[in-house]
């Protein structure tokens, strides 16, 4: 009892209790009142709220359990253990668990049923049978389509990352060199567009790039071209959309890195006769290596699996793994092959993810 309450100070208990009282009161009001409008406005039924509460309670119980176990083994006090084990629990719930579900389906067989795949284990007459169907993975090697799609996605991600870096680096550099007062404004300007939903921003690009769109209208008006340029529904449009959408993810880590640079290094180099260009290549770029890696990974990793932007802006020749996955799942009703594709994609992405993690760890060590 006392051990359990340790991690929470008095104020914490008050907050938790207050939250519970509020949730309870609203739930009760919801039950008594006429068709509880508050929760319905949120789109939750009473049943869902209760399920949510039970899930939250279970997660909390598991969390406390894990923290207690961890503190036993690590000689940390329960409060610290709770803090340390938080990220692990998060990873387990939202990464490992879903991944295992996908992995499980990738070993099943497609079936006409709900859900549309076979169970990989069965238990009858005291015999537990586990059937792993490797056919889905072998199938991926039989058709060059899948390889072409992976390569298409990797190419799209690589080129977009390079373009983002080429555009983002000067921007981040300029921001880092700007006056302290204006930096906040500049940061806000970079982040503000991301406050709009990505779908709407990509739709806006459809309006700009289409044959009757703003860009073609402008070019026709000034007489630079006499037939509209076909940009929408081509790979070029996808590159434009991807670079536009992911640029902030490149700029922010670069800025965070560049803003910390010590100007006296550049001054010292100049004093010793180094040119500005030389300063940039020999001092600024090597020092910002971690920022470059972090920004590049933040762009590269999500772009490989990107689906929305190529779907809306891309043409038929845009072959990416996200679209192929969609086809396996929706057109072919083959959830197992779709899952196998997803598992392989994750395996491909693990190299850059590890690279990113290492880099982050180094960055942290550097700070300490």
């Amino acid at each position: 009892m006392s051990k359990l309450t340790n991690p929470l100070n008095d104020r914490g208990i008050v907050v938790v209790a207050a939250a519970l009282v509020i949730i309870g009161a609203v739930t009760l009001l919801n039950l008594i009142g006429p068709a509880g409008t508050f929760w319905q406005a949120l789109g939750l039924s009473i049943n869902q709220i209760c399920t949510l509460l039970v899930v939250l309670a279970t997660v909390a119980a598991v969390y406390v359990g894990v923290a207690l176990l961890f503190s036993r083994f690590s000689h940390l006090n329960p409060g610290r253990a709770a803090v340390v084990s938080g990220p692990f629990l998060w990873l387990f719930l939202f990464f490992l668990l879903p991944f295992f579900i996908v992995l499980k389906i990738s070993f099943a067989e497609a079936d006409v049923a709900i859900p549309p795949y076979t169970e990989i284990y069965s238990y009858a007459e005291q015999k537990l049978e586990i059937i792993l169907n490797l056919g889905n993975y072998l199938f991926l090697t039989e058709d060059e389509l899948y390889l072409a799609a992976y390569l298409g996605s990797l190419k799209m991600a690589a080129i977009s990352t390079i373009v983002c870096l080429l555009i983002g680096y000067p921007m981040a550099y300029a921001m880092a060199r700007a006056k302290k007062e204006s930096q906040t404004t500049l940061l806000l300007l970079i982040m503000m567009p991301t406050w709009t939903a990505i779908l709407i921003r990509v739709y806006a690009w459809m309006g700009i790039l289409s044959n009757n769109g703003l860009l073609n209208g402008f070019l026709l008006d000034i007489g630079l071209i006499d037939t509209p340029l076909q940009i929408l529904n081509t790979n070029l449009a996808v590159y434009i959309g991807v670079v536009y959408s992911y640029l902030p993810f490149m700029i922010l880590p670069l800025f965070a890195n560049l803003v910390k640079h010590d100007n006296s290094l550049l001054e010292a180099a100049s004093d010793l006769g180094s040119s500005n260009l030389n300063n940039f290549w020999k001092i600024t770029v090597p020092l910002s290596k971690n920022g470059i890696i972090a920004g590049s990974m933040l762009v590269f990793i999500p772009v490989v699996g990107e689906f929305v932007i190529p779907e809306l802006l891309g043409g038929p020749e845009t072959l990416m793994i996200g679209k192929v996955l969609w086809q396996e799942f929706f057109n072919n009703r083959d959830w197992p092959v779709a899952s196998a594709l997803a598992v392989v994609m994750l395996a491909i992405l693990i190299v850059p993810i590890i690279l990113f993690n290492r880099n982050q760890a180094k960055e942290l060590e550097g700070k300490a």
Binding site: M1, L4, T5, V16, A17, L20, G24, T27, L31, A35, S45, I46, N47, I49, C50, L53, V54, A57, A110, V112, A113, I114, P115, P116, D143, L145, A148, S210, N211, N212, T227, Q230, N233, G315, P316, E317, T318, L319, V324, Q327, F329, F330, N331, N332, R333, D334
Partner: protein
């Protein structure tokens, strides 16, 4: 801490008991195709029955099916096409309709019901809603400018002859993004059965498409409506009603775009959308009331007027606006009817081969 836990437990148990007792039969979740109902149908239903409708839309059978097969989709009424219905019935997605609660069943067109038995033997699970054809929508002026007065706008020659479609490339050509609805047209054009499962014949259809592929602007199942209406594309192979919608949008915008629709003379695919109730529907009683409401001749006639699709209700035909009832693009003549073919339910292997062909066609790989 113990107390909090106990309170939580008591609270959730109480909640569960209550929610079980209070089954929500005043709300109905309807999942339908986009732009596929009249503006006031839902409002009238709510006024008549007091049931509130939560209305949600999709633009492809595949999306609906994925939700249904995942289980517990949360919908009470859904509108699958007949070619998807068969497999979904086999998978156990739907509950049989209680015909005693559907007095308006008698209004249905018996011929159409017989056709639907291919997908739903005994008509146990679904009623026909609207149906339509997949044909040629085009921008009259732009096609004339590209191909002259004798442009074959009432034939698949328009898009399957490379020399024709090449001239349309400049103004834009779109196809539905659906292998199972478009490949049959190529098979049919080549003189094979539209539901052929022969890999050799499928390969030939693929080759036909690869020849015209460089002239196709894009494959999509809904965005051609807007593009045809504002002149971004000049030919769309699409759903009849969608093209009529593009026509009325262009008329409303007064942008000078004249959209027309033709069922190709060689024959075309016809789809039948049906209304069914998922097995896990939370409000099956409300769903039956909704279906019975849709079976009223005046209700479905208003929907046909609004979306320009013919319905499966024999008693409703005379209530449909004359302009729509007599338009051969919407209500085909008996001769054209004979040329139409339905989309069958395909075995998984053929389905996969078609999807693969489609990817090859679309990417040119």
């Amino acid at each position: 801490m113990k107390k909090i836990g106990k309170t939580l437990l008591a609270l959730s148990l109480a909640g569960m008991a209550f929610s079980a007792a209070q089954a929500d039969d005043k709300v109905l979740h309807v999942y339908n195709w986009s732009d596929y109902i009249a503006e006031d149908t839902i409002a009238k239903f709510t006024a008549e029955t007091g049931i509130k409708v939560v209305y949600d839309v999709y633009d492809s059978n595949e999306v609906l099916e994925a939700k249904l097969l995942a289980g517990k989709a949360g919908y009470d009424v859904v509108v699958p096409s007949n070619s998807f219905l068969a497999k979904q019935i086999k998978a156990g997605v739907y509950q049989p309709l209680d015909k005693s609660k559907l007095p308006n069943w008698k209004n249905l067109n018996p011929d159409l019901m017989k056709t639907l038995e291919i997908s739903d033997p005994g008509n146990q699970y679904a009623i026909p809603y609207l149906w339509g054809t997949i044909g040629i929508g085009y921008n009259a002026d732009k096609v004339k400018a590209a191909l002259g007065d004798n442009a074959p706008v009432n034939s698949w020659d328009l898009v399957f002859k490379p020399e024709n479609i090449a001239k349309l490339k400049g103004c834009g050509v779109s196809f539905l993004d659906s292998p199972t609805e478009i490949l049959p047209a190529a098979l049919h054009y080549l003189g094979y059965k539209s539901d052929s499962q022969d890999p050799k014949e499928l390969k030939e259809a693929e080759a036909l498409f690869l020849k015209v592929r460089p002239s196709i602007t894009y494959f999509h199942s809904s965005k051609y409506i807007g593009d045809l209406a504002n002149g971004n594309i000049c030919v769309a192979i699409g759903y009849s009603g969608d093209i009529y919608q593009a026509k009325s949008r262009a008329e409303e915008a007064k942008n000078g775009v004249k959209v027309l629709y033709n069922i190709p003379k060689e024959g075309a695919g016809a789809f039948f959308d049906t209304v069914a109730i998922p097995k896990d529907a939370e409000n099956p009683e409300g769903a039956l009331k909704f279906i019975n409401f849709l079976l009223k001749p005046d209700v479905i006639a208003e929907i046909s007027n609004y979306v320009s699709y013919p319905n499966g209700n024999a008693a409703a035909t005379e209530l449909v606006d004359e302009a729509i009832r007599t338009d051969p693009g919407i209500y085909p003549t008996p001769e054209v009817m004979k040329q139409l073919y339905a989309f069958p339910d395909l075995p998984a292997k053929v389905q996969r081969a078609m999807t693969r062909s489609w990817t090859a066609i679309k990417s040119g790989k």
